[in-house]
């Protein structure tokens, strides 16, 4: 899979790393059970801090896309379907759009909750 980080972008580097993995799961190039490179290795390859990579991995873990295990590193979970990854991408877009409009975190959550209340 391909990791890309652009220090010139406004998006935090950790999020860019998470987005790379999410994108790869979404387009089917990375499957469940596949192991991501060790954080230390990836950090050295990208020329970024290990903590930056770990932040990205942590993000993916919270989205349920990967599991972080001591000794085994980061493994793509069985629940990480392309659809699930695309959902994460959609959420990213929603947040980016809302931020552009100057909405606060609280207001963004309210937008989603309002949408859910209608169902």
């Amino acid at each position: 899979m391909l990791f890309r980080v652009d220090p010139g972008s406004a998006v935090p580097l950790g999020d860019q790393i998470a987005a790379s993995v999410r994108g790869a799961i979404a387009d089917g190039s990375v499957h469940a059970g596949e192991r991501l490179p060790a954080a230390r290795e990836l950090a050295a390859s990208l020329g970024v801090n290990v903590h930056t990579v770990l932040r990205g991995y942590q993000r993916l873990k919270e989205e349920g896309l990967i599991e972080l295990r001591r000794g085994r590193g980061a493994v793509v979970t069985g629940a990480a379907s392309p659809g699930r990854a695309r959902l994460g991408e959609a959420a990213e877009r929603l947040i980016a759009e809302a931020r552009k409009l100057g909405l606060s975190d609280e207001e963004i959550v309210r937008v989603v909750r309002t949408g859910l209340a209608g169902r």
Binding site: M1, L2, F3, R4, V5, D6, P7, G8, S29, E34, R35, P37, E41, L42, S45, L46, G47, V48
Partner: protein, 343 residues
Amino acid sequence: MKSAKSGPRSVLPSTRPLRPWIAVFPFLIALLAIAGVLNGVSGRLPDPLATHFGPDGKPDGYSSIRGFLTASLAALLLIAVGSGVLAQLRRTAPVTRWVISAGWGAAVMFALPVCLTLLANAHARDADAVRFPMWQVAAWLGAAVLAGGLGWLLAGPDTRTATAPSDGAPRLALAEGESAVWSHTVSSPLLALLGALMLGAGVLLGFLDGWLTGAILLVSALAVIAVGSVRVTVDRRGLRLASTLLGVRFRCVPFDRVTEAVGRQVQIAAEFGGWGYRVRPDRTGLVLRSGEGLVLRLTSGREFVVTVDDAATGAALFNAYLDRARTRQNSPQDSRRSPRQGG
């Protein structure tokens, strides 16, 4: 080979027009030598000839003059034709020097004993009295090695000219300052299992048979396990191969050794004759299966091959970094510039 215009190699044996003649020359000399000796000893040869000798130099095999000469000449011609053809083939172009060298060695290897046998026979009253002293065997082998060396020198280095520009090779678009990493694992459960079995056998033999056998088997087991599962990475430093099971990096190919990267289908049986980490005259590779592979064309004219999924993306990223490295090399004073497209 550090010019910006490096591209896919095109190794042409025809760039050295004398080479086919150099390849065939020792065989002509060999034929002339046999003919000359034959002419010199004609009429003094016993029939049948003593043609095979034991370690004591006494004959233990005989054949008729006609049979001996026919077999010798046939063998010599066969090798001559083989050597000439191999030296002409495009496939063998990167190793033509070796082919020519081997041809020179083989010509002496086959022709000299024929001459020596004829001379030894000519000096004897009958075939049983023929002697073939051991020092002649040593001289014969030494002469073959010398001839091989002479052929190697005369053949000259294999010419490699980078001609076609690599502009056509696909590249990943990298923004200025952007860094990217392509990483994939490739594994062979069979090799890993083999390694584990060897490891077990090594420990067992270490107890039963002695530490040396055990140690040899253990080291081989580790080598097999190392290539059983490998993480292939292309990053700003080049191509890196690391064993996921042992956690050690065992191969790194930096950008300045590569002219171009491509993704292509690799047939491991035809190209490497098997699987594992394989070294051949014109290519080296970690090949665990047939199919998609990342191929680096090296400045030395050789290829480095890894069979791995999604190799095209890896090759595209490698080429993008190659462009960056070349731009920096050409203009070290403003190395922060964005990579220029093409060469």
